[in-house]
Symmetry: C2
Subunit: 307 residues, 2 copies
Protein backbone atom coordinates (compact mmCIF):
# COMPACT_ATOMS: atom_id res chain seq x y z
CA UNK A 1 0.00 0.00 0.00
CA UNK A 2 1.19 3.51 -0.78
CA UNK A 3 2.18 5.61 2.24
CA UNK A 4 0.38 8.70 3.45
CA UNK A 5 1.24 11.86 1.53
CA UNK A 6 2.45 14.84 3.56
CA UNK A 7 -0.07 17.12 1.82
CA UNK A 8 -3.27 16.46 -0.13
CA UNK A 9 -2.69 15.25 -3.67
CA UNK A 10 -4.56 16.99 -6.48
CA UNK A 11 -3.57 14.65 -9.24
CA UNK A 12 -2.50 11.02 -8.92
CA UNK A 13 -0.75 9.18 -11.74
CA UNK A 14 -0.26 5.43 -11.90
CA UNK A 15 2.37 4.31 -14.39
CA UNK A 16 6.01 3.51 -14.83
CA UNK A 17 9.31 4.96 -13.67
CA UNK A 18 12.10 3.68 -15.89
CA UNK A 19 15.72 3.83 -16.81
CA UNK A 20 16.00 4.51 -20.53
CA UNK A 21 18.70 3.97 -23.14
CA UNK A 22 17.83 6.24 -26.04
CA UNK A 23 19.51 6.87 -29.40
CA UNK A 24 18.26 9.52 -31.84
CA UNK A 25 19.82 11.32 -34.84
CA UNK A 26 20.72 14.05 -32.31
CA UNK A 27 22.73 11.78 -29.96
CA UNK A 28 22.37 9.09 -27.33
CA UNK A 29 21.88 8.69 -23.62
CA UNK A 30 22.15 5.60 -21.41
CA UNK A 31 20.35 4.70 -18.20
CA UNK A 32 18.69 8.10 -17.98
CA UNK A 33 15.50 8.84 -16.09
CA UNK A 34 12.36 7.90 -18.02
CA UNK A 35 8.96 6.25 -17.69
CA UNK A 36 5.39 7.36 -18.32
CA UNK A 37 4.61 8.44 -14.77
CA UNK A 38 7.91 10.32 -14.56
CA UNK A 39 7.34 12.53 -17.61
CA UNK A 40 3.70 12.96 -16.64
CA UNK A 41 4.54 13.98 -13.07
CA UNK A 42 7.22 16.49 -13.96
CA UNK A 43 4.96 18.14 -16.56
CA UNK A 44 1.90 18.16 -14.28
CA UNK A 45 3.90 19.47 -11.31
CA UNK A 46 4.01 22.86 -13.04
CA UNK A 47 0.29 23.21 -12.32
CA UNK A 48 -0.77 20.95 -9.44
CA UNK A 49 0.32 18.80 -6.51
CA UNK A 50 1.08 15.42 -8.09
CA UNK A 51 1.20 12.03 -6.40
CA UNK A 52 3.28 9.52 -8.35
CA UNK A 53 2.32 5.86 -7.98
CA UNK A 54 4.88 3.47 -9.45
CA UNK A 55 7.59 0.98 -8.53
CA UNK A 56 11.38 1.15 -8.85
CA UNK A 57 14.13 -1.29 -7.95
CA UNK A 58 16.68 -0.86 -5.23
CA UNK A 59 19.12 0.27 -7.94
CA UNK A 60 17.11 3.43 -8.62
CA UNK A 61 19.60 6.34 -8.45
CA UNK A 62 19.11 8.82 -5.62
CA UNK A 63 19.61 11.87 -7.91
CA UNK A 64 16.58 10.80 -9.94
CA UNK A 65 14.43 10.61 -6.82
CA UNK A 66 15.77 14.03 -5.81
CA UNK A 67 14.88 15.49 -9.22
CA UNK A 68 11.26 14.42 -8.70
CA UNK A 69 11.16 15.61 -5.09
CA UNK A 70 12.55 18.99 -6.19
CA UNK A 71 9.42 19.44 -8.36
CA UNK A 72 7.33 18.99 -5.18
CA UNK A 73 6.00 15.68 -6.51
CA UNK A 74 4.66 13.47 -3.75
CA UNK A 75 6.69 10.24 -3.72
CA UNK A 76 4.88 8.42 -0.92
CA UNK A 77 3.36 6.19 -3.64
CA UNK A 78 6.72 5.39 -5.23
CA UNK A 79 7.38 1.87 -3.99
CA UNK A 80 10.93 0.48 -3.91
CA UNK A 81 10.96 -3.26 -4.59
CA UNK A 82 13.86 -5.65 -4.30
CA UNK A 83 15.38 -6.01 -7.78
CA UNK A 84 16.18 -3.84 -10.76
CA UNK A 85 14.24 -0.88 -12.10
CA UNK A 86 12.23 -1.26 -15.33
CA UNK A 87 14.69 -0.65 -18.18
CA UNK A 88 13.71 0.38 -21.72
CA UNK A 89 16.00 0.85 -24.72
CA UNK A 90 14.90 2.40 -27.97
CA UNK A 91 16.02 4.20 -31.07
CA UNK A 92 14.47 6.93 -33.22
CA UNK A 93 15.48 7.34 -36.88
CA UNK A 94 14.86 9.88 -39.59
CA UNK A 95 12.03 12.23 -38.76
CA UNK A 96 11.77 10.51 -35.32
CA UNK A 97 8.08 9.72 -35.76
CA UNK A 98 8.23 6.35 -34.04
CA UNK A 99 10.51 4.54 -31.63
CA UNK A 100 12.06 1.19 -32.43
CA UNK A 101 12.11 -0.72 -29.13
CA UNK A 102 15.43 -2.53 -28.66
CA UNK A 103 14.90 -3.86 -25.14
CA UNK A 104 12.14 -4.01 -22.52
CA UNK A 105 13.35 -5.42 -19.19
CA UNK A 106 10.28 -5.29 -16.98
CA UNK A 107 12.26 -6.27 -13.84
CA UNK A 108 10.34 -5.08 -10.73
CA UNK A 109 7.42 -4.04 -12.94
CA UNK A 110 6.59 -7.68 -13.53
CA UNK A 111 4.86 -8.09 -10.18
CA UNK A 112 3.65 -4.52 -9.67
CA UNK A 113 0.07 -4.32 -8.43
CA UNK A 114 -0.61 -0.90 -6.95
CA UNK A 115 -2.49 -0.77 -3.69
CA UNK A 116 -3.41 2.83 -3.01
CA UNK A 117 -3.38 4.41 0.45
CA UNK A 118 -6.12 6.76 1.60
CA UNK A 119 -4.35 9.89 0.27
CA UNK A 120 -4.13 8.52 -3.24
CA UNK A 121 -7.61 6.96 -3.26
CA UNK A 122 -9.03 10.42 -2.53
CA UNK A 123 -7.22 12.23 -5.34
CA UNK A 124 -9.82 14.17 -7.37
CA UNK A 125 -7.83 13.92 -10.62
CA UNK A 126 -6.31 10.65 -11.77
CA UNK A 127 -4.28 9.65 -14.82
CA UNK A 128 -3.98 5.97 -15.66
CA UNK A 129 -0.80 5.91 -17.73
CA UNK A 130 -0.15 3.02 -20.04
CA UNK A 131 -0.28 -0.19 -17.97
CA UNK A 132 -2.21 -3.46 -18.31
CA UNK A 133 -5.98 -2.82 -18.35
CA UNK A 134 -6.27 -5.15 -15.33
CA UNK A 135 -4.10 -2.76 -13.33
CA UNK A 136 -6.04 0.25 -14.61
CA UNK A 137 -9.31 -1.40 -13.55
CA UNK A 138 -7.88 -2.26 -10.13
CA UNK A 139 -6.89 1.38 -9.62
CA UNK A 140 -10.30 2.59 -10.81
CA UNK A 141 -12.02 0.40 -8.21
CA UNK A 142 -9.86 1.87 -5.43
CA UNK A 143 -10.76 5.52 -6.12
CA UNK A 144 -13.22 7.04 -3.68
CA UNK A 145 -14.05 10.46 -5.10
CA UNK A 146 -12.59 11.01 -8.54
CA UNK A 147 -13.73 14.14 -10.38
CA UNK A 148 -11.87 13.34 -13.62
CA UNK A 149 -10.11 10.13 -14.63
CA UNK A 150 -8.19 9.91 -17.91
CA UNK A 151 -6.46 6.84 -19.36
CA UNK A 152 -3.72 6.10 -21.88
CA UNK A 153 -2.97 2.68 -23.40
CA UNK A 154 -0.74 1.03 -26.00
CA UNK A 155 -1.08 -1.35 -28.96
CA UNK A 156 0.02 -4.35 -26.90
CA UNK A 157 -3.12 -4.10 -24.70
CA UNK A 158 -5.35 -3.40 -27.68
CA UNK A 159 -4.12 -6.71 -29.09
CA UNK A 160 -3.94 -8.93 -26.00
CA UNK A 161 -6.38 -7.39 -23.48
CA UNK A 162 -9.05 -5.76 -25.59
CA UNK A 163 -11.99 -6.68 -23.34
CA UNK A 164 -10.33 -5.22 -20.26
CA UNK A 165 -9.48 -2.09 -22.21
CA UNK A 166 -13.08 -1.67 -23.39
CA UNK A 167 -14.17 -1.92 -19.74
CA UNK A 168 -11.63 0.81 -18.87
CA UNK A 169 -13.08 2.98 -21.66
CA UNK A 170 -16.57 2.65 -20.19
CA UNK A 171 -15.33 3.78 -16.78
CA UNK A 172 -13.08 6.76 -17.52
CA UNK A 173 -13.91 10.36 -18.45
CA UNK A 174 -11.18 10.79 -21.01
CA UNK A 175 -8.86 8.81 -23.26
CA UNK A 176 -5.50 10.03 -24.58
CA UNK A 177 -3.96 7.86 -27.32
CA UNK A 178 -1.69 8.29 -30.31
CA UNK A 179 -2.75 8.00 -33.94
CA UNK A 180 -1.77 4.35 -34.38
CA UNK A 181 -3.52 3.34 -31.17
CA UNK A 182 -6.63 5.26 -32.22
CA UNK A 183 -6.71 3.43 -35.55
CA UNK A 184 -6.08 0.04 -34.00
CA UNK A 185 -8.57 0.40 -31.13
CA UNK A 186 -11.37 1.88 -33.29
CA UNK A 187 -10.81 -0.13 -36.46
CA UNK A 188 -11.04 3.09 -38.52
CA UNK A 189 -8.10 4.21 -40.62
CA UNK A 190 -9.27 7.82 -40.95
CA UNK A 191 -8.39 9.63 -37.70
CA UNK A 192 -11.53 11.77 -37.59
CA UNK A 193 -13.65 8.65 -37.93
CA UNK A 194 -11.44 6.84 -35.39
CA UNK A 195 -11.78 9.60 -32.80
CA UNK A 196 -15.55 9.70 -33.13
CA UNK A 197 -15.83 5.92 -32.80
CA UNK A 198 -13.71 5.95 -29.65
CA UNK A 199 -16.00 8.64 -28.24
CA UNK A 200 -18.86 6.20 -28.74
CA UNK A 201 -17.06 3.64 -26.57
CA UNK A 202 -17.53 5.53 -23.30
CA UNK A 203 -15.31 8.53 -22.58
CA UNK A 204 -16.62 12.10 -22.57
CA UNK A 205 -13.57 13.17 -24.53
CA UNK A 206 -10.91 11.51 -26.66
CA UNK A 207 -7.58 13.08 -27.58
CA UNK A 208 -5.62 11.63 -30.50
CA UNK A 209 -1.95 12.67 -30.43
CA UNK A 210 -0.15 12.89 -33.76
CA UNK A 211 3.41 13.67 -32.64
CA UNK A 212 4.89 16.53 -34.67
CA UNK A 213 1.47 17.03 -36.29
CA UNK A 214 -0.28 18.01 -33.09
CA UNK A 215 -3.44 16.55 -31.60
CA UNK A 216 -7.17 16.25 -32.16
CA UNK A 217 -9.79 16.52 -29.43
CA UNK A 218 -13.18 14.88 -29.82
CA UNK A 219 -15.92 15.87 -27.39
CA UNK A 220 -19.69 15.37 -27.30
CA UNK A 221 -20.36 18.95 -28.40
CA UNK A 222 -17.39 19.79 -30.63
CA UNK A 223 -14.01 18.77 -31.99
CA UNK A 224 -10.77 20.72 -31.87
CA UNK A 225 -7.35 20.58 -33.54
CA UNK A 226 -4.08 21.97 -32.22
CA UNK A 227 -0.68 21.72 -33.95
CA UNK A 228 2.44 20.88 -32.01
CA UNK A 229 4.63 23.73 -30.76
CA UNK A 230 6.82 24.96 -33.66
CA UNK A 231 10.26 23.66 -32.69
CA UNK A 232 13.20 23.80 -35.08
CA UNK A 233 15.23 21.29 -33.12
CA UNK A 234 13.81 18.07 -31.71
CA UNK A 235 16.42 15.95 -29.93
CA UNK A 236 14.54 13.11 -28.22
CA UNK A 237 10.81 12.40 -28.62
CA UNK A 238 10.76 10.00 -25.63
CA UNK A 239 8.08 11.01 -23.15
CA UNK A 240 6.38 13.52 -25.45
CA UNK A 241 2.97 11.88 -25.09
CA UNK A 242 3.24 11.51 -21.30
CA UNK A 243 4.46 15.10 -20.94
CA UNK A 244 1.49 16.17 -23.06
CA UNK A 245 -0.87 14.26 -20.77
CA UNK A 246 0.84 15.74 -17.70
CA UNK A 247 0.50 19.34 -18.89
CA UNK A 248 -3.08 18.66 -19.93
CA UNK A 249 -4.17 17.04 -16.67
CA UNK A 250 -2.22 19.54 -14.57
CA UNK A 251 -3.97 22.44 -16.30
CA UNK A 252 -7.37 20.73 -15.93
CA UNK A 253 -6.75 20.08 -12.22
CA UNK A 254 -5.71 23.72 -11.78
CA UNK A 255 -8.81 25.04 -13.57
CA UNK A 256 -11.31 22.59 -12.06
CA UNK A 257 -13.38 22.81 -15.24
CA UNK A 258 -13.58 20.18 -17.94
CA UNK A 259 -16.08 21.03 -20.60
CA UNK A 260 -14.72 20.27 -24.09
CA UNK A 261 -13.59 23.89 -24.47
CA UNK A 262 -11.68 23.64 -21.17
CA UNK A 263 -9.97 20.47 -22.37
CA UNK A 264 -9.05 22.31 -25.60
CA UNK A 265 -7.46 25.13 -23.58
CA UNK A 266 -5.60 22.60 -21.42
CA UNK A 267 -4.20 20.98 -24.60
CA UNK A 268 -2.21 24.16 -25.15
CA UNK A 269 -0.38 23.45 -21.88
CA UNK A 270 0.10 19.78 -22.73
CA UNK A 271 1.57 20.76 -26.08
CA UNK A 272 3.94 23.21 -24.40
CA UNK A 273 5.18 20.74 -21.76
CA UNK A 274 5.70 18.17 -24.52
CA UNK A 275 7.75 20.73 -26.47
CA UNK A 276 10.15 21.08 -23.53
CA UNK A 277 10.37 17.31 -23.15
CA UNK A 278 11.47 16.70 -26.74
CA UNK A 279 14.01 19.54 -26.80
CA UNK A 280 16.49 17.51 -24.72
CA UNK A 281 17.20 13.93 -23.70
CA UNK A 282 15.37 12.54 -20.67
CA UNK A 283 13.93 15.16 -18.28
CA UNK A 284 16.86 17.54 -18.72
CA UNK A 285 14.77 20.29 -20.26
CA UNK A 286 11.34 19.75 -18.77
CA UNK A 287 12.58 19.48 -15.18
CA UNK A 288 14.12 22.98 -15.34
CA UNK A 289 11.12 24.79 -16.78
CA UNK A 290 9.23 27.41 -14.76
CA UNK A 291 5.55 28.22 -14.89
CA UNK A 292 6.36 31.55 -16.55
CA UNK A 293 8.41 29.80 -19.28
CA UNK A 294 5.33 27.67 -19.91
CA UNK A 295 3.01 30.68 -20.04
CA UNK A 296 5.35 32.31 -22.57
CA UNK A 297 5.26 29.33 -24.89
CA UNK A 298 1.50 28.93 -24.38
CA UNK A 299 1.07 32.50 -25.60
CA UNK A 300 3.36 31.78 -28.61
CA UNK A 301 1.31 28.71 -29.45
CA UNK A 302 -2.00 30.56 -29.21
CA UNK A 303 -0.63 33.21 -31.59
CA UNK A 304 0.58 30.47 -33.95
CA UNK A 305 -2.98 29.20 -34.39
CA UNK A 306 -4.90 32.48 -34.31
CA UNK A 307 -6.25 33.95 -37.54
CA UNK B 1 -0.02 33.32 -78.07
CA UNK B 2 -3.10 33.11 -75.86
CA UNK B 3 -6.22 34.77 -77.27
CA UNK B 4 -7.96 37.82 -75.85
CA UNK B 5 -10.23 37.12 -72.90
CA UNK B 6 -13.82 38.32 -73.13
CA UNK B 7 -13.57 40.00 -69.71
CA UNK B 8 -10.59 41.09 -67.60
CA UNK B 9 -8.87 38.25 -65.79
CA UNK B 10 -8.20 38.65 -62.05
CA UNK B 11 -6.11 35.57 -61.62
CA UNK B 12 -4.05 33.76 -64.25
CA UNK B 13 -2.75 30.22 -63.71
CA UNK B 14 -0.13 28.55 -65.88
CA UNK B 15 0.05 24.80 -65.47
CA UNK B 16 -1.29 21.50 -66.76
CA UNK B 17 -4.61 20.14 -67.88
CA UNK B 18 -4.50 16.36 -67.83
CA UNK B 19 -6.37 13.15 -68.21
CA UNK B 20 -5.84 11.05 -65.09
CA UNK B 21 -6.12 7.35 -64.30
CA UNK B 22 -6.41 7.10 -60.53
CA UNK B 23 -6.76 4.15 -58.17
CA UNK B 24 -7.29 4.56 -54.42
CA UNK B 25 -8.58 2.27 -51.65
CA UNK B 26 -11.98 3.90 -52.32
CA UNK B 27 -12.15 2.99 -56.02
CA UNK B 28 -10.73 3.85 -59.42
CA UNK B 29 -11.36 6.19 -62.32
CA UNK B 30 -9.86 6.24 -65.81
CA UNK B 31 -9.20 9.14 -68.19
CA UNK B 32 -10.92 11.61 -65.88
CA UNK B 33 -10.29 15.35 -65.87
CA UNK B 34 -7.17 16.33 -63.92
CA UNK B 35 -4.11 18.56 -64.00
CA UNK B 36 -2.71 21.27 -61.75
CA UNK B 37 -4.26 24.23 -63.59
CA UNK B 38 -7.61 22.45 -63.74
CA UNK B 39 -7.97 21.87 -60.01
CA UNK B 40 -6.55 25.32 -59.33
CA UNK B 41 -8.97 27.05 -61.72
CA UNK B 42 -12.10 25.32 -60.50
CA UNK B 43 -11.22 26.10 -56.85
CA UNK B 44 -10.25 29.72 -57.59
CA UNK B 45 -13.34 30.31 -59.74
CA UNK B 46 -15.41 30.34 -56.55
CA UNK B 47 -13.80 33.68 -55.69
CA UNK B 48 -12.41 35.39 -58.81
CA UNK B 49 -12.36 35.50 -62.61
CA UNK B 50 -9.70 32.94 -63.54
CA UNK B 51 -7.73 32.70 -66.78
CA UNK B 52 -6.39 29.20 -67.40
CA UNK B 53 -3.17 28.96 -69.45
CA UNK B 54 -2.33 25.41 -70.51
CA UNK B 55 -2.29 23.07 -73.49
CA UNK B 56 -4.45 20.07 -74.35
CA UNK B 57 -4.44 17.70 -77.31
CA UNK B 58 -7.10 17.44 -79.95
CA UNK B 59 -8.46 14.40 -78.07
CA UNK B 60 -9.52 16.58 -75.13
CA UNK B 61 -13.19 15.75 -74.43
CA UNK B 62 -15.69 18.52 -75.02
CA UNK B 63 -17.56 17.83 -71.69
CA UNK B 64 -14.37 18.65 -69.77
CA UNK B 65 -14.02 21.96 -71.57
CA UNK B 66 -17.69 22.66 -70.82
CA UNK B 67 -17.20 21.87 -67.14
CA UNK B 68 -14.51 24.56 -66.96
CA UNK B 69 -16.52 27.08 -68.98
CA UNK B 70 -19.52 26.50 -66.71
CA UNK B 71 -17.39 27.78 -63.81
CA UNK B 72 -16.89 31.02 -65.76
CA UNK B 73 -13.20 30.20 -66.20
CA UNK B 74 -11.65 32.07 -69.12
CA UNK B 75 -10.35 29.48 -71.60
CA UNK B 76 -8.85 31.85 -74.18
CA UNK B 77 -5.44 30.73 -72.88
CA UNK B 78 -6.21 27.03 -73.23
CA UNK B 79 -4.31 26.06 -76.37
CA UNK B 80 -5.29 22.97 -78.35
CA UNK B 81 -2.25 21.35 -79.97
CA UNK B 82 -2.16 18.52 -82.44
CA UNK B 83 -1.59 15.31 -80.52
CA UNK B 84 -2.74 13.72 -77.30
CA UNK B 85 -3.48 15.40 -73.98
CA UNK B 86 -1.01 14.97 -71.08
CA UNK B 87 -1.94 11.69 -69.35
CA UNK B 88 -1.03 10.76 -65.80
CA UNK B 89 -1.71 7.49 -63.99
CA UNK B 90 -1.21 7.00 -60.27
CA UNK B 91 -2.20 4.97 -57.26
CA UNK B 92 -2.73 5.82 -53.61
CA UNK B 93 -2.44 3.14 -50.93
CA UNK B 94 -3.20 2.86 -47.24
CA UNK B 95 -3.61 6.26 -45.63
CA UNK B 96 -3.26 7.84 -49.12
CA UNK B 97 -0.43 10.12 -48.02
CA UNK B 98 1.51 9.91 -51.28
CA UNK B 99 0.81 8.95 -54.88
CA UNK B 100 2.73 6.23 -56.67
CA UNK B 101 3.09 7.43 -60.26
CA UNK B 102 2.44 4.60 -62.71
CA UNK B 103 2.63 6.55 -65.96
CA UNK B 104 3.45 10.07 -67.15
CA UNK B 105 2.76 10.59 -70.85
CA UNK B 106 3.70 14.22 -71.48
CA UNK B 107 2.30 14.17 -75.06
CA UNK B 108 1.48 17.78 -76.12
CA UNK B 109 3.05 19.07 -72.91
CA UNK B 110 6.50 18.17 -74.25
CA UNK B 111 6.71 21.26 -76.47
CA UNK B 112 4.49 23.61 -74.45
CA UNK B 113 5.96 27.10 -74.12
CA UNK B 114 3.29 29.56 -73.08
CA UNK B 115 3.19 32.88 -74.89
CA UNK B 116 0.74 35.14 -73.05
CA UNK B 117 -1.57 37.58 -74.79
CA UNK B 118 -2.18 41.05 -73.42
CA UNK B 119 -5.13 40.00 -71.28
CA UNK B 120 -3.09 37.38 -69.46
CA UNK B 121 0.05 39.51 -69.18
CA UNK B 122 -1.96 42.13 -67.33
CA UNK B 123 -3.46 39.74 -64.76
CA UNK B 124 -2.81 41.19 -61.29
CA UNK B 125 -2.70 37.77 -59.60
CA UNK B 126 -0.71 34.91 -61.06
CA UNK B 127 -0.11 31.33 -59.98
CA UNK B 128 2.78 29.42 -61.51
CA UNK B 129 1.69 25.83 -61.02
CA UNK B 130 4.27 23.07 -61.11
CA UNK B 131 6.11 23.32 -64.46
CA UNK B 132 9.79 23.51 -65.41
CA UNK B 133 11.45 26.55 -63.79
CA UNK B 134 12.42 27.73 -67.30
CA UNK B 135 8.72 27.99 -68.18
CA UNK B 136 7.95 29.69 -64.88
CA UNK B 137 10.72 32.26 -65.56
CA UNK B 138 9.45 32.83 -69.09
CA UNK B 139 5.96 33.55 -67.74
CA UNK B 140 7.37 35.85 -65.06
CA UNK B 141 9.16 37.90 -67.71
CA UNK B 142 5.92 38.34 -69.68
CA UNK B 143 3.89 39.78 -66.80
CA UNK B 144 3.35 43.54 -67.00
CA UNK B 145 1.68 44.47 -63.70
CA UNK B 146 1.55 41.61 -61.27
CA UNK B 147 0.43 42.43 -57.74
CA UNK B 148 1.01 38.96 -56.34
CA UNK B 149 2.77 36.00 -57.96
CA UNK B 150 2.91 32.62 -56.22
CA UNK B 151 4.72 29.48 -57.42
CA UNK B 152 4.55 25.76 -56.82
CA UNK B 153 7.20 23.21 -57.84
CA UNK B 154 8.03 19.51 -57.49
CA UNK B 155 10.97 17.32 -56.48
CA UNK B 156 11.97 16.67 -60.10
CA UNK B 157 12.85 20.37 -60.61
CA UNK B 158 14.53 20.60 -57.23
CA UNK B 159 16.80 17.78 -58.43
CA UNK B 160 17.40 18.68 -62.09
CA UNK B 161 16.80 22.45 -62.36
CA UNK B 162 17.75 23.82 -58.96
CA UNK B 163 19.39 27.03 -60.23
CA UNK B 164 16.35 27.98 -62.28
CA UNK B 165 14.13 27.25 -59.33
CA UNK B 166 16.23 29.43 -57.03
CA UNK B 167 15.84 32.26 -59.58
CA UNK B 168 12.06 31.71 -59.51
CA UNK B 169 12.14 31.94 -55.71
CA UNK B 170 13.90 35.32 -55.89
CA UNK B 171 11.23 36.68 -58.23
CA UNK B 172 7.93 35.52 -56.71
CA UNK B 173 5.97 36.78 -53.71
CA UNK B 174 4.91 33.41 -52.41
CA UNK B 175 5.84 29.73 -52.58
CA UNK B 176 3.44 26.84 -51.97
CA UNK B 177 5.11 23.42 -51.62
CA UNK B 178 4.45 20.16 -49.86
CA UNK B 179 6.43 18.81 -46.92
CA UNK B 180 8.80 16.63 -48.95
CA UNK B 181 9.53 19.44 -51.40
CA UNK B 182 10.16 21.84 -48.51
CA UNK B 183 12.66 19.42 -46.98
CA UNK B 184 14.38 18.71 -50.27
CA UNK B 185 14.59 22.33 -51.43
CA UNK B 186 15.75 23.70 -48.06
CA UNK B 187 17.97 20.82 -46.98
CA UNK B 188 16.33 20.89 -43.52
CA UNK B 189 14.50 17.83 -42.26
CA UNK B 190 12.53 19.71 -39.60
CA UNK B 191 9.60 21.46 -41.30
CA UNK B 192 9.73 24.60 -39.17
CA UNK B 193 13.41 25.01 -39.98
CA UNK B 194 12.71 24.19 -43.65
CA UNK B 195 9.97 26.81 -43.95
CA UNK B 196 12.15 29.50 -42.41
CA UNK B 197 15.06 28.69 -44.71
CA UNK B 198 12.82 28.87 -47.78
CA UNK B 199 11.61 32.27 -46.58
CA UNK B 200 15.23 33.37 -46.65
CA UNK B 201 15.49 32.40 -50.33
CA UNK B 202 13.25 35.20 -51.58
CA UNK B 203 9.48 34.93 -51.15
CA UNK B 204 7.51 37.07 -48.71
CA UNK B 205 5.60 34.01 -47.62
CA UNK B 206 6.04 30.25 -47.81
CA UNK B 207 3.27 27.71 -47.31
CA UNK B 208 4.19 24.11 -46.53
CA UNK B 209 1.32 21.72 -47.20
CA UNK B 210 1.20 18.53 -45.12
CA UNK B 211 -1.76 16.72 -46.68
CA UNK B 212 -4.12 15.38 -44.02
CA UNK B 213 -2.04 17.22 -41.38
CA UNK B 214 -2.84 20.69 -42.72
CA UNK B 215 -0.41 23.43 -43.63
CA UNK B 216 2.12 25.84 -42.16
CA UNK B 217 2.51 29.45 -43.24
CA UNK B 218 5.81 31.27 -42.76
CA UNK B 219 5.82 35.05 -43.17
CA UNK B 220 8.29 37.77 -42.29
CA UNK B 221 6.33 38.82 -39.22
CA UNK B 222 4.73 35.59 -38.02
CA UNK B 223 4.02 31.92 -38.65
CA UNK B 224 0.67 30.19 -38.69
CA UNK B 225 -0.62 26.61 -38.62
CA UNK B 226 -3.96 25.32 -39.87
CA UNK B 227 -5.15 21.69 -39.82
CA UNK B 228 -6.90 20.15 -42.79
CA UNK B 229 -10.70 20.13 -42.82
CA UNK B 230 -11.92 17.22 -40.63
CA UNK B 231 -13.20 14.73 -43.19
CA UNK B 232 -14.21 11.20 -42.25
CA UNK B 233 -14.09 9.94 -45.82
CA UNK B 234 -11.30 10.79 -48.26
CA UNK B 235 -11.76 9.13 -51.65
CA UNK B 236 -9.08 10.60 -53.94
CA UNK B 237 -6.30 12.98 -52.84
CA UNK B 238 -5.41 13.92 -56.45
CA UNK B 239 -5.46 17.68 -56.89
CA UNK B 240 -5.65 18.48 -53.18
CA UNK B 241 -2.59 20.74 -53.29
CA UNK B 242 -3.69 22.56 -56.45
CA UNK B 243 -7.22 23.01 -55.10
CA UNK B 244 -5.68 24.40 -51.93
CA UNK B 245 -3.62 26.87 -53.96
CA UNK B 246 -6.70 27.80 -56.01
CA UNK B 247 -8.86 28.55 -52.99
CA UNK B 248 -5.97 30.44 -51.40
CA UNK B 249 -5.18 32.60 -54.43
CA UNK B 250 -8.85 33.12 -55.26
CA UNK B 251 -9.51 34.41 -51.75
CA UNK B 252 -6.40 36.64 -51.89
CA UNK B 253 -7.46 38.05 -55.26
CA UNK B 254 -10.94 38.71 -53.88
CA UNK B 255 -9.62 40.46 -50.76
CA UNK B 256 -6.83 42.40 -52.49
CA UNK B 257 -4.79 42.25 -49.27
CA UNK B 258 -1.80 40.02 -48.67
CA UNK B 259 -0.19 40.67 -45.35
CA UNK B 260 0.74 37.43 -43.58
CA UNK B 261 -2.53 37.54 -41.60
CA UNK B 262 -4.47 37.88 -44.86
CA UNK B 263 -2.65 34.88 -46.29
CA UNK B 264 -3.53 32.95 -43.12
CA UNK B 265 -7.22 33.81 -43.55
CA UNK B 266 -7.06 32.80 -47.22
CA UNK B 267 -5.60 29.41 -46.18
CA UNK B 268 -8.97 28.63 -44.61
CA UNK B 269 -10.52 28.86 -48.09
CA UNK B 270 -7.74 26.83 -49.66
CA UNK B 271 -8.24 24.14 -47.05
CA UNK B 272 -11.97 24.07 -47.71
CA UNK B 273 -11.66 23.84 -51.51
CA UNK B 274 -9.11 21.03 -51.03
CA UNK B 275 -11.58 19.23 -48.78
CA UNK B 276 -14.16 19.18 -51.57
CA UNK B 277 -11.55 17.99 -54.08
CA UNK B 278 -10.56 14.93 -52.04
CA UNK B 279 -14.12 13.90 -51.22
CA UNK B 280 -14.66 12.56 -54.74
CA UNK B 281 -12.66 11.42 -57.77
CA UNK B 282 -11.57 14.06 -60.27
CA UNK B 283 -13.50 17.36 -60.14
CA UNK B 284 -16.84 15.66 -59.43
CA UNK B 285 -17.24 17.28 -56.02
CA UNK B 286 -15.36 20.53 -56.35
CA UNK B 287 -17.03 21.56 -59.61
CA UNK B 288 -20.49 21.44 -58.02
CA UNK B 289 -19.71 23.48 -54.94
CA UNK B 290 -21.29 26.91 -54.36
CA UNK B 291 -19.77 29.88 -52.61
CA UNK B 292 -22.21 29.42 -49.74
CA UNK B 293 -21.16 25.75 -49.32
CA UNK B 294 -17.60 27.02 -49.04
CA UNK B 295 -18.52 29.69 -46.49
CA UNK B 296 -20.26 27.01 -44.41
CA UNK B 297 -17.20 24.78 -44.30
CA UNK B 298 -14.94 27.80 -43.71
CA UNK B 299 -17.01 28.60 -40.62
CA UNK B 300 -16.78 24.93 -39.49
CA UNK B 301 -13.03 25.01 -39.92
CA UNK B 302 -12.61 28.25 -37.98
CA UNK B 303 -14.64 26.71 -35.13
CA UNK B 304 -12.49 23.56 -35.29
CA UNK B 305 -9.35 25.61 -34.51
CA UNK B 306 -10.79 28.19 -32.12
CA UNK B 307 -10.07 27.84 -28.41
Amino acid sequence: MTKTPSRAIDLAVVGTVALDDVATPAGKADAVLGGSATYFSVAASLFARVGLVAVVGDDFPRPFRELLAARDIDLSGLETAHGRTFHWAGRYDGAMNAATTLKTDLNVLETFSPSLGEGHRQAPYVFLANTAPAIQLSVLSQLTKPRLVVADTMNLWIDVARDGLLEVLRRVDGLVVNDEEARSLSGARNLIAAGKRLLGMGPRFVIVKKGEHGAFLFGRDRSYALPSYPLEDVRDPTGAGDSFAGGLMGALAASGRFETADVARAMVYGTVTASYAVSTFSLDGLSKVSRSDVEGRAEDLRRFVTL
